[in-house]
Every structure is written in structure tokens, then in C-alpha cells.
Amino acid sequence: MKLPLMRRIAQTAFLCLLVAIPILNEREISFITGTLYSMSIGPVDITDPLSGMQVIMLTLSATRALVVSMLIPILITFVLGRTFCSWLCPQNLFSEISDILSRKVLRQRRALVPPTPIPRWGILALVIVGSLVLGFPLASLISAPGIISLQISTAVFEGTVGLETGLVAFILLAEFFVLRRFWCKYVCGVGTVLGFFRCGKTLKVTFREDHERKCIRCGACSRACQFDLDPVKGKLYPLCHNCGDCIAACAKSTNGKNPLQLRF
């Protein structure tokens, strides 16, 4: 099966899971509970490292359960990179759909700003300062995947959605009309924090030519990249979230003899 199709299936299945969890919980089937801020699967707790990190900063203490629950996503990210963003995150799925529609309808292609991680580091720093000033984890209110899963849960349990939903709508409209994919690329704090957890052995998009696999300079990879990165030039991280679109494009152009591959 091809990489983009597998990814789309994973994203859709995960969104269905986020809808199914509160519906099942409401019928008292509670093997999995929670939202993308924190989720329990049976006895195992998983907490968003951004949310957990903020609690530790604000209270200057941490329960052991909190730290342990943050380790699971951190370890997964160390091994697989930011695959949560590309393969599971519901905001990324919505943004990708909005981007596909935008390209069909408005025919816009390029971003206005070149890819750089500096805005997202600055925004994360602002969010942390804001949290310390206001005394509560501000990132919870601007974590798009958290908002989406929390709003699904409140819609099921209370029959309403909060004003936070407006942020998701704003992101999608802004991305559709103005700044292509700006949220995942420049803003999202969840992704920024996950981006810190990498090492030399983390799964990454690798450009490696040999006698079999030769780059034909077609440029399909950078055209396929939603963040306007150039995989041949390298320097993809921390922006790249291992979606694999460039690899699929490369494989298509080179008839399966793609020099671009996901490697550890």
C-alpha cells in the first residue's frame, strides 16, 4: 500500500476513534477515556508533553504519574519523529483537506514566508511566559488537537461546543485563503515541543543516492512538501513531521527507485 493512502487511513481512523471514545464512555464502556490533552488506555496514561511540561513549570512540582504519562509520547517521538503530527493529529488532517481544497479552488501554491522554525520557538516562548503570568496552562487553550478532541467530548456529553472551536475554524479559513498550512508550520506548540525530542537515530527523511537510486532533479519532492521544504537540500528538521509525501512523489518520478527514503 502506498504511503499517502496509509497515512490518510490512519488519520481518518484516529479521528473516528476520537469521536467513538466519548460516545462509548457515555455508554459506560471506558477502556479508553480522555482527550488529546491526556488519555487513558486501560491502566496506561498518556499525557501531552506540552500540557504536562506547563503544569510542572507552573507548580514547580510533578506527580510521578504525570511524568511517566509524558514519557510515552516522548519515547515514540524519539523513535519515529513527529509522526503524531502527520499520522494522527486531527488538526493536521483538517488543514490538509483545507489545503487540497484551497489549491483546487484558489489555485494558490506557495507560502508567503520561507520555512523556518524561529516563529514557532518564539510563539512557544510567548505561551510559556503568558502561562506564568496568567497562572494557568495557556497552551491548553491554543492546542488545536486538544481543542478538537475536547470539543468532540463536550459535544457528546453536554450537547454544546465551546468558543475554542472558533480557533480551529479561524485556522482553517486563514489557511484556505491566506497563509498556506501556517498553523502546523509556524505556530502549533504541541508540535514544537515534540520537535525537541530527537536524536541521530530518529526516523527521518533521508536523501541517499547510489548506483541504483539516482536523483533525476525533477523537484517533485519539494513540490509535494506541504511545508515547502526541499528534501534534496536537507535541513528538514525540526519542521518536517515525517508525513512521507515527498517520498511517495519521489517514488512515482523514479519508478520506485527513489533516493529519498525514511530511515533511522
Partner: protein, 159 residues
Amino acid sequence: MSKRFLRPPGARDERHFQASCIRCNKCLVICPYRSVRTGTLFDGFTNMGTPIIDPRRVPCYLCMKCPPVCPSGALDATLTDKRDVRMGIAVIDKKTCYAWQGTLCRSCYEICPLFDEAIAMDDALRPVIDEKKCVGCGMCENVCPADPSAIIVKPKGEK
């Protein structure tokens, strides 16, 4: 300081609670009585997404299921005895309380989960609250026949 709300049992003091609640909704989901609702912007910016209990709508029935599911320590996971809960303290408005105005009424006295302890009846059959025993669950506020309720739980820390 914005208005204080009744929080689920085991909640730390409000400042600590605000700092450590990550708005994950697990306490709301586990609550079998739907006592917990999600805070909205109308409850104040810093309360958005946090768990709030409005006893007049649904009080806390002290089943103690929510403290252990809290992942971030906003609710004290080690709290298991409902007698140790301190969500707030019930206060009676003697001007509107039927019993204090001379009509026979034992609604709050009868419903109190710490029966004859947190709410006792004095010699004139009027309810009196023991502030040391009251856990602040709000069951009394929920059943009070006066409208608005003559007995109201003041959230912990509210003057």
C-alpha cells in the same frame, strides 16, 4: 480575582488547581451523575475547559471516582474517603430558610451524606452547619425547597 467555582472533590487550592488542570475532561467523563460541567468563556478566561460543579443543577454525590483519574495532580489522587473532601462549606441564609422562618423543613438535614454530623438540628429544629465536618458536596443546596436556595455552598477559599 474572578468568581470562584465549586471544583470536583480533591481539588487543590484554586491557584494551584488553575495551574495544574490541563483541561483534559477525564473527571467529567468518569462522573456517573454528570455533576461536572466544562467551564466556558462566560465563566472567565482562565476557567475555560476546567471542571465546574453547579450544585443547584447537579451536586457532587461523593462517589470519589474522579480524583484518581486526574493525570496532572489538579485533583489529589490519594483522596479516597469522602469525609476528607473539602470542596467548600455550606452557608444557610436564615432570612430565607423555611426552618429558620418557622416552617417545618428538614430537606437539607435529611439529604446530607454526613447525616446528623455536617448538618444538625438545634433545639428549635433549625438546621445548623458544622463547618469542620461539611465537605461542600452541595446536596443540601440541590434539594433546598426555597428559591433561590437558602443554603449555598461557598467554594473553598471564597470569603
